[in-house]
């Protein structure tokens, strides 16, 4: 490719075009003006003007999660850039490939406390896979190339590029590198994976369980995971981000385990003698009290990130590598072991698991109940969509009800904020998902508290005529915190009741979208039908649910995983 004269800002835009960026989410401002000026004439990039930078970040996350591509967001210096931090931290916790681009004040002003100056690379350093403050315009093509490469490879994650305004205006001879050379980013597999040892554990286990995490999505290893699960024939449990890694409609799948997992999933993992953890990190929300986690289980832990191995739970056999590449090799070893020595008889184990499942299912006690139960609402929406929607959520009780009752049968159909637990994620994420997957049904399950954190971007969804449906399970509470207050703080509801504001139907109308409300059970189905039939822009549905309903079962923080309360 011949070199071409352009400015730093034009180089940023050109690099994004060459990386195949389709949508980017951002808002202009004083220092990032040069990039927006260059964007004005780009024929390939489509920019989504959000109303708050955090929304741009989450929308890029939703896009990335839904498509498997890198999400891109932009912000100006100072407050624009600090508004992005929550989304960047969210992407870091959930390993979402994200490139965040910010401008900063001109080089001579850096360090002088200039107007809208922030040490944003200093701020994002602990929540990015890597970040750059670009002080030489010649570095822009290389840094852009490295940024996209780092974001999507290995354990994916967010990267952040900060460019002072004067650097954006300087000229360079643009040449985009073909390859990336980063000395410290070579694969560091120091020993061959002990596949035979892992297979021996698989062969000798009589109470195995497969534990799937977000790494399956990150590695795009859905087919490989399915084959492995079929081969081992063990019960499959997932994390919140593992939902969709294996079809939850398959009888082998016990769904989510952990703090709000089902009793049967938790009993299964606690009583297992082998846990095969694939792309998972033994987060405190799934293990409960660590010292009592699956006391008799040996652990085969396969993950791309060596730093996750034995971080919290010691791996009997660690397998470091990319799931997509390594899992078929592991499967081949297991198959060999089965062929040579026969399969273990898992029927007694399955009998126990089935008994637990029969005795302790996830229940919805709607019968005789005057109010709409939130679980009923999730269930009915799911049924009306025939489970075919891409669902996204905010954070709180509604998120856990969605996780419990929204059965996911395909990959990339359940998109949520897991690690960081960021309220306000739902609407922005829905925007990104719908843009990334036009023509598909995108459903948000949100809470009244969560929705109010980012609702201003209804305007963005309307601008782009996105037919997203946001169902708000409205209990006029910061419900999850209220639940903890009821259970662990003696019903002292300190600052958790919310006033009945805003009127969500009128709010929707103010934003020129459809607003609906269901107060009684008899209204629920009709409202869902109307929402799903609405194709012309967003729809907000205010579902008034029983205010005191709690998410059950529940493992209290710091308790053993099998020591659950409620949900009998």
């Amino acid at each position: 490719m011949p070199k071409e004269k352009m400015t730093g800002a034009q180089a940023v835009v050109r690099a994004m075009e060459l990386e195949g960026v389709e949508w980017l989410f951002g808002m202009p401002g004083g220092t990032i003006l040069p990039i927006y000026d260059a964007l004005f004439t780009s024929k390939k990039l489509k920019h989504v003007l959000i109303r708050h930078e955090q929304v741009g970040g989450h929308a890029a996350e939703g896009y990335a999660h839904a498509t498997g591509k890198v999400g891109v967001c932009m912000a100006t210096s100072g407050p624009g850039s600090t508004n992005l931090v929550t989304a960047i931290a969210d992407a870091y916790m959930d390993s979402v490939p994200l490139v965040a681009i910010t401008a900063n004040v001109a080089k001579p002003l850096i360090g002088t406390d200039a107007f809208q100056e922030a040490d944003i690379t200093g701020i994002t350093m602990p929540v990015t896979k890597h970040n750059w403050l670009v002080t030489d315009v010649q570095d822009i093509p290389r840094v852009m190339k490295e940024a996209f490469y780092l974001a999507r490879t290995g354990r994916p994650g967010p990267v952040h590029i900060d460019i002072p305004k004067d650097v954006l205006n300087e000229p360079l001879e643009f040449e985009y590198p073909e390859e990336v050379h980063i000395a410290g980013y070579m694969p560091r597999v120091k020993e061959e994976p002990r596949l035979a040892d892992a297979a021996t554990l698989g062969r000798s286990s009589t109470r195995p369980v497969i534990y799937l995490g977000g790494g399956v999505r990150a590695s795009n290893a859905f087919a490989e995971v399915f084959e492995f699960c079929e081969l081992l024939g063990a019960p499959v449990v997932t994390t919140l981000h593992g939902k969709g890694a294996f079809p939850e409609t398959n009888p082998s799948c016990l769904g989510m385990f952990g703090m709000h997992g089902s009793r049967f999933a938790n009993y299964t993992i606690q009583n297992s003698d082998l846990i095969v953890a694939l792309g998972a990190r033994f987060d405190d929300r799934v293990t409960g009290k660590l010292s009592t986690f699956a006391p008799e289980a040996k652990i085969v832990h396969l993950d791309v990130d060596p730093a996750e191995i034995s971080k919290l739970v010691t791996a009997t056999v660690p397998l470091v590598g990319d799931l997509k590449a390594l899992l078929p090799r592991f499967a081949a070893e297991v198959k060999k072991a089965f062929d040579e020595r026969g399969r273990p008889d898992l029927s007694p184990w399955w009998k126990r698991v089935s008994d637990w499942r029969e005795k302790h299912p996830l229940r919805i006690k709607q019968e005789g109940e005057k109010y709409i139960l939130p679980q009923t609402a999730v269930q009915r929406i799911w049924e009306k969509c025939q489970g075919k929607a891409v669902v996204t959520t905010g954070v709180g009780e509604h998120q856990m009800w969605a996780a419990q009752f929204w059965k996911v049968s395909a990959p990339r159909q359940f998109i949520t904020s897991g690690g960081l637990g960021t309220m306000g994620f739902c609407l922005p994420s829905a925007i990104g998902i719908q843009l990334g997957r036009p023509g598909e049904l995108v459903v948000g399950i949100d809470g009244d508290g969560s929705f109010q954190m980012t609702l201003q971007d209804l305007a963005t969804a309307v601008d782009h005529k996105l037919p997203i449906k946001i169902f708000i399970l409205n209990n006029l509470f910061l419900g999850m915190v209220r639940q903890w207050q009821e259970l662990f703080y003696d019903n002292r509801f300190s600052e958790t009741p919310l006033t009945d504001l805003p009127d969500l139907v009128k709010l929707a109308e103010a934003y020129k979208c459809l607003g609906l409300r269901a107060r009684e059970l008899g209204e629920l189905d009709g409202v869902i039908d109307r929402a799903l039939a609405h194709k012309d822009g967003p729809c907000i549905v205010d579902i008034r649910v029983k205010r005191q309903e709690k998410v059950y079962p529940m493992v209290p923080a710091g308790a053993p995983l099998n020591d659950m309360i409620g949900g009998e």
């Binding site: 350093m125 602990p126 000395a183 060596p306 730093a307």
Partner: protein, 178 residues
């Protein structure tokens, strides 16, 4: 000379040798990782290497709970970190530099010279009522020297933190960078 023991009652002390890219904010990345993961840095020394684009850091870390392998793997995740290795006590040469200022009347100077000689230390500054001693060696040797000089009253002291290299022909740079 007794090596500083690796097993300490309040945690285990490890010497980590890092080869890093000589770029802005690398020190901040590494120090930040130690801080946010809760690892205590005993000392950290950083300087240029035989290669202009790389720096070497020697970090002495005290760990109370986490195994050192976890720290190494976390450090290896940092993009500008090229290589990390724990240097075993038996397999490393470790040195530290100390400058010690003692405020003392001239009549004590000859005794101090004798002590300095014993520790292969040098007197690097002398005035009528003070002198400065420079010494290099292992941390344990410098500890001993410090203790010995304590009776004279140390008025100021500055230690560099340890630097270390592996014995023998081994180097830290991975094969593709040699």
């Amino acid at each position: 000379m007794v090596e500083k023991t690796e097993q300490m009652p309040n945690g285990n002390v490890h010497t980590l040798s890092l080869l890093v890219e000589n770029k802005p904010a690398v020190l901040q990345r590494i120090a930040g990782l130690f801080a946010r993961r809760g690892y205590n840095i005993e000392s950290l020394a950083v300087g240029p290497t035989e290669h202009p684009e790389r720096s070497r850091m020697t970090v002495v870390v005290r760990l109370t709970q986490k195994p050192v392998e976890l720290v190494v793997r976390q450090l290896e995740k940092l993009i500008p970190v090229i290589e990390v290795r724990e240097l075993a006590a038996s397999d490393k040469i470790e040195r530290e530099l100390v400058l010690i200022k003692i405020k003392t009347p001239e009549k004590n100077h000859s005794e101090l010279r004798a002590i300095a000689d014993t520790y292969e230390a040098q007197i690097v500054d002398v005035s009528t009522d003070a002198l400065m001693i420079e010494a290099t060696g292992t941390a344990a040797k410098l500890d001993a020297l410090e203790e010995r000089l304590g009776v004279f009253g140390i008025t100021e002291l500055c230690r560099s933190g340890a630097i270390a290299l592996e014995r023998g022909f081994k180097t830290l740079a991975p094969p593709h960078l040699k």
